[in-house]
């Protein structure tokens, strides 16, 4: 049920890091290390996810976007109404 989140996340990572092999990456590995995202890349990813998914991601929660799996779990939780 979170396939759309995973797909969006993968698309936005590739938009920032075109060489990224998201499908072949370890989903539990460190996201920024896996795709060589610096802080500006990471902010751009957060901005894109916020725009596309309509999910508010407070700065204090950045650490929870630590891997592909962690990000999907976190974003799904944030999206749940109530």
């Amino acid at each position: 049920m979170n396939d759309d989140i995973r797909k969006t996340l993968a698309e936005e990572i590739v938009n920032i890091a075109p060489e990224a092999d998201v499908a072949g990456a370890d989903p539990d590995a460190d996201l920024r290390e896996s795709f060589d995202l610096d802080s500006m890349d990471f902010l751009n990813l957060i901005i894109a996810l916020h725009k596309r998914l309509g999910i508010d991601i407070p700065e204090a929660d950045y650490a929870r976007i630590s891997s592909l799996n962690a990000a999907v779990t976190y974003l799904a939780q944030r999206r749940k109404p109530g």
Binding site: N15, E19, D38, S39, K51, A60
Partner: protein, 385 residues
């Protein structure tokens, strides 16, 4: 042909973005020039009307050769050609600062046949940050038209062009750094700064802001360096022809790592006068354009000092190599939680290692120490930035 770097001898005119009869204003991008270090968008530094194109696309010409004539508004064509964009990246005789001979990022053009792009499409693409090279043209002869750009608006620009010659870029970086180490008597200073107040300030500032309006610590550091430079003029300017010329303007060059290797350090103009919000926006814009090959000539030639931050890579400190003809480079490492003594007690604090590499022909360690101390002091009062 403007000089876009101290080592540049010639460039190839790739494309005109204006034609005879077009009005131009100071700052307009008028042409694209390809150098050994990539393609640069060339700005015009006077206002008038393009009266004649003197160099056709595909032609390689030496630095200093006029590219076009520009007449003042309402005037007839002037016989002595007014060189396009000569002011900043001056022709060789002018003692104006040449650029740090750093490479630019990926070429704006792919080398062989330049894409045909309508002016409207180019304007729209520029406004929306769309990379023209990645677009399929549906106009006559495959030209990219504004509809193509509009259709691609949802797609963000490619991070990097595939045509960049990393070997050439590495050569250029090597040449610049070798010259620096050969000619500049560096001295080095370092200090550790308590960053907790600045981070707390950012937490307060960013709370409730949408992600696109949040400020990063990097912008705070750039602003701090720029403000500290107001009181430290011996670190802001150029050493040329055997003497130092301080710069009244403060244009901090920000080192940007390119994906896959290489780096550029383009200027954020008048850094000290920008608000933190404007500085953050300018930094985002500069990083994006650095990585998509859309930097401008003035951004290459104007940095009066460079700031490098390798905190991203998990290192505690970085000590830079000065980009000639600049005379200083400030480095910041990674903010890290460390034991810190406050009023006789040990507390966990986020701290940052700052370094200064400076030119001993221009300044001494005492001045450098005051400069770093100023940066530290300002970071303890982030509300005043």
């Amino acid at each position: 042909m403007p000089s876009l770097g101290a080592d540049m001898e010639a460039g190839t005119l790739v494309e005109w973005l204006k034609k005879p009869g077009d009005a131009v204003h100071r700052g307009d991008i008028i042409a694209v020039v390809e150098t050994q270090k990539g393609a640069i968008e060339i700005e015009v530094f006077e206002t008038g009307v393009v009266s004649e194109i003197l160099v056709q696309p595909g032609t390689k010409v030496p630095v200093g050769q006029p590219l076009a004539q520009i007449s003042a508004p309402g005037e007839a064509v002037k016989p002595p050609p007014a060189a396009v964009a000569p002011a900043r990246p001056a022709i060789p005789e002018k003692p104006r600062a040449p650029a740090p001979p750093l490479p630019l990022s990926a070429p704006t053009v792919a080398g062989e046949a330049r894409r045909r792009v309508s002016p409207a499409a180019r304007k729209l693409a520029a406004e929306r940050g769309i990379d023209l090279a990645g677009l399929k043209g549906s106009g006559p002869g495959g030209a990219v038209i504004s509809n193509d750009v509009a259709a691609a608006t949802r797609k963000p620009p490619a991070a990097r062009k595939p045509g960049l010659d990393l070997a050439e870029m590495r050569k250029a970086i090597g040449a610049a750094m070798a010259r620096s180490k050969r000619e500049i008597p560096h001295y080095y200073l370092g200090t550790t700064i308590d960053l907790s107040r600045a981070l707390a300030f950012l937490e307060r500032t960013n709370a409730g802001r949408t992600p696109d309006r949040r400020i990063m610590i990097g912008a705070v550091l750039i602003k701090t360096v720029a403000l500290a430079l107001r009181r430290a003029p011996t670190f802001n300017g150029f050493f040329q022809n055997g003497s130092f010329a301080p710069s009244k303007a403060i244009h901090v060059g920000v080192a940007v790592a390119l994906r896959g290797g290489g780096l550029v350090a383009p200027a954020i103009h008048d850094t000290d006068s920008l608000s933190l919000d404007d500085l953050m926006a300018a930094t985002r814009d500069l990083v994006e354009r650095s990585r998509s090959g859309r930097l401008r000539g003035s951004e290459m030639t104007d940095p009066t000092i460079t700031l490098t931050s390798l905190g991203e890579r998990g290192v505690d400190s970085v000590v830079g190599v000065i980009f000639p003809p600049q005379v200083a480079i400030v480095g910041f490492g990674r903010p890290a939680l460390r034991p810190w003594v406050v009023e006789g007690r040990v507390e966990p604090r986020q701290v940052l290692q700052a370094s200064l590499a400076a030119d001993h022909r221009v300044s001494d360690g005492h001045a450098g120490a005051l400069f770093l101390a100023d940066i530290d002091r300002m970071l303890q009062e982030p509300d005043k930035l």
